[in-house]
Symmetry: C2
């Protein structure tokens, strides 16, 4: 596949400024891409110059304007997905942009079409060549950022709510990690059905912004099962679980008659910045096997769902295309509108992924290869200086606002040794969450209360230089990495 | 509950003729009922005189005109259902008739309403007192026989196809035992969705009559899984399994991506006339437990469904009432019309149950307390005489037309000793399947080819007296019982 075999070539990295403002292919036929150089922590992420792909048979070449960041990317980075690709690899499962070229025997698309596309890796680049069966023309009026925020999250939410969950009016749902990208999609799609009771779990700092749209919110730390039993003694109709582990058994036990438990993620296996065999194995051990005869006795249903599996292993792209059309209609008529947590440059990928890992995001994190890396404000520069001088990592205060989950508290992360890395190209976060725009259409919108709360310990923010350039080598001991290492020893709340 | 504690009282049995033609309560306040005197074989079934129930608070008293016979009744008779009731007990889970009296604090019904009702036992009687929450007014133009044929079977089929199976156009279904009551309901309801491929298993002798309505039919004896793989290499969307045991694992393996396996019966545990602990345990052992993580990897769903559990343990009567209304609309507009295999008198219950056990029925078997026990033809009387004289049981030829299922062939039935029975009241079958009407509206309609085929060994038919009276003691060694005992040692095809 184009780009797969490309080698690192730091010397030919594009000039700083040109690479941000020019959507057309560069003269030397290279492009900027977010590359995973090996499985592990944030330092495995690098923005590199890579040969531009050319569209193969049945493929289209997309000039990428927006990419979606998913928890799946975090799991891939740590090497805990099924059949992970060989590294180095260009990351990313979804991108939106404009078709720039069309491969042979490719029908249904024209140069200039605005599209969203899904692919197993290779999406986080200025150009992506993607089989047409995974490419969808977006409707008039849909922004690229919205398109990239809709694809994986809303497809997943739609399928688990309607095609598997068979949601009906008057029913009740428990959805974990309701504040994340899929969670926000669940909230909006659930509103298309009358009189649904929505129970959600989310980190405490997100409750304020989620409250208007979720019937009952629970922090991950509380015994949500007991609370739900008080409110719905019979249990709930649908449990949407992206966490797995102990959440699975609890979820199944919470089902009312004819209730359905749907596992669509296993993010509780991620307990630190890098792969932990211990938490991985524990999650599998914790999940009880169940006899169909038990389901027969109890009138219960179990289901598992993975969009990635469905599209790329099981070849169900036609089914997915039908659903994408439905989602586009819902977008056009105003029923759905993705909540975008932040739009980050490629160079800000490490901070963006750490934000996802720390469950700070409310809604979707988008990468935009056409925007500049963020510049710090005067306050941030001062905060950074303070942080440098007292070396107090931000995480020490974060743990107070993010209660620990018992299933995570005893995990022992086993970091995989970085295979090849000198940090010459690693991108450091250079802004704090307080700066993060909540919408692509209003990049300077003031942060929501939850964000302000999450970012409260501003004087312990990670350090970064004021220079927006990102290709310069940085010292390994910057607070950004210190923060990541600290995180591994803590127990983050489950994924959102 | 009225009727539960009533004792046997053969001496006060109603006079033969009056009991068949009079729907009103008898002078001595007694009624005819089909009583299970203990768990076991056909001889445990007796038509007895029982005190008439009076409707309790929230109940209605129904003058019964039709009762449904289900495979569940067979399992109850053998004592292999969950939490079986104490014997003696009036059998039957569904009946249709006219409301004759209304208990205190019972709303929504009037005397004279025509209704269908569900209850855990107590339905096979001339009068049944049933909680109003399980009673449904039937629409104008629906016969009692149709009502009794619709209730359990169509509710089950509707729920598993649409509410659990979420059937969509273009999908494929594998339904086992497609020739039975639920199977016929599945056939008809499936037709409301466009372009569905319906795979069905059924005994060979039913194929001729099922062919026009089932895309591909398989005998239970063939390797249907392999055949389906040839026709649908990806597998099927929905597996509807009323058999369990090895069929469960095969069914799950046959699912295509996003496919759902639904267990709604366990009739493969019935391998003889009476309870077999061996086949019971084997069925449980055969069913593999499954991890939700496996479902997550494969995009598959598992579900179990039991209407009895849903209504009587899980209290979901309001949900069931909504569905019953939908079914009534489908009946009224002609979309569904139950296929009735035969309408039998209470006195013919043993033959009716044996027919169900032997998988000879195509569609629903109905009991009608208002009709006369069947009288034999001259040929039948002769056949009976021959059978008496040469004591050649019918079963010796039956096994040639009903191929044995491999999973059943090594079962060792362990008959439970009858607790209390002298056969003074047992009802003997006195007609052969050739006489069985295929429709309640045309009781004299000529039998379908499949029936004629099944009844071919007419000269070995069970003996019975020409007398229509049923309350007289009969000798234990009649061929009817000999047939039943023989059956235990054989391996019938799975239930339909």
């Amino acid at each position: 596949m184009p780009g797969d075999s490309a080698e690192e070539n730091p010397a030919s990295a594009p000039a700083k400024e040109e690479s941000k403002t020019d959507d057309k292919p560069k003269e030397p036929k290279e492009m900027k891409a977010v590359v995973l150089t090996g499985f592990g922590g944030l330092k495995m992420l690098k923005v590199q110059s890579k040969p531009q792909p050319t569209p193969g048979e049945g493929e289209v070449l997309i000039a990428v304007k927006a990419c979606g960041v998913n928890f799946l990317d975090l799991m891939l980075r740590q090497g805990v997905t099924d059949n992970p690709p060989k590294t180095p690899v260009i990351m990313g499962y979804e991108c939106a942009g404009t078709i720039e070229a069309i491969g042979e025997k490719t029908e249904g698309f024209s140069v200039g079409d605005n599209v969203i596309a899904l692919k197993e890796c290779h999406c986080w680049a200025e150009l992506a060549s993607i089989p047409a069966k995974y490419v969808y023309k977006i409707p008039e009026g849909m922004t690229f950022h919205d398109a990239a925020a809709i694809a994986m999250n809303y497809l997943t939410a739609y399928i688990i709510l309607f095609d598997i969950g068979n949601l009906r009016s008057g029913q009740s749902i428990l959805a974990h990690s309701i504040g994340g990208g899929v969670g926000q999609a669940i909230i909006q799609l659930t509103k298309t059905v009358e009189n649904v009771t929505l129970y959600g779990t989310a980190s405490a700092h997100k409750h304020e912004s989620l409250k208007p749209n979720v019937t009952h919110l629970f922090d991950h730390g509380v015994d949500y099962a007991q609370e739900i039993r008080k409110l719905s003694p019979e249990g709930v109709d649908i449990v949407l679980d992206c966490l797995c582990g102990d959440y699975t058994n609890k979820g199944i036990s919470l089902l009312r008659p004819m209730g359905r438990y749907i596992l669509f993620g296993t993010s509780s296996v991620v307990t630190g910045e890098t792969k932990s065999f211990f938490s991985f194995a524990k999650s599998w051990w914790q999940v009880d096997k169940i006899s169909p005869l038990k389901l027969y006795d109890d009138n219960k249903f179990l289901a598992g769902f993975q969009l990635r599996q469905l599209l790329f292993r099981e070849n169900q792209h036609e089914y997915v295309r039908q659903l994408m059309d439905k989602l586009f209609k819902l977008y056009t008529d105003g029923t759905i509108k993705p909540v975008i947590d932040q739009v980050a440059s490629f160079e800000d990928i490490a901070e963006a992924m750490q934000r996802l890992h720390d469950r700070k995001n409310i809604g979707k994190i988008i990468l935009d290869p056409t925007i500049q890396p963020k510049e710090k404000t005067k306050n941030e520069a001062e905060a950074e200086d303070r942080a440098k001088s007292d070396s107090e990592p931000e995480e020490s205060t974060k743990s107070e606002t993010e209660p620990e989950e018992s299933i995570d508290s005893d995990s022992e992360p086993e970091e995989i040794s970085p295979p090849d890395t000198e940090p010459e190209e690693i991108i450091k976060p250079d802004v704090k969450p307080t700066e993060i725009a909540k919408s692509d259409t209003k990049p300077e919108a003031k942060p929501k209360p939850a964000d302000a709360e999450a970012a409260a310990p501003a004087d312990a923010a990670p350090a970064a230089t004021a220079d927006a350039a990102t290709e310069e080598p940085k010292a390994e001991e910057t607070p950004a990495e210190g923060e990541a290492e600290k995180t591994e020893e803590e127990a983050p709340a489950p994924a959102e």
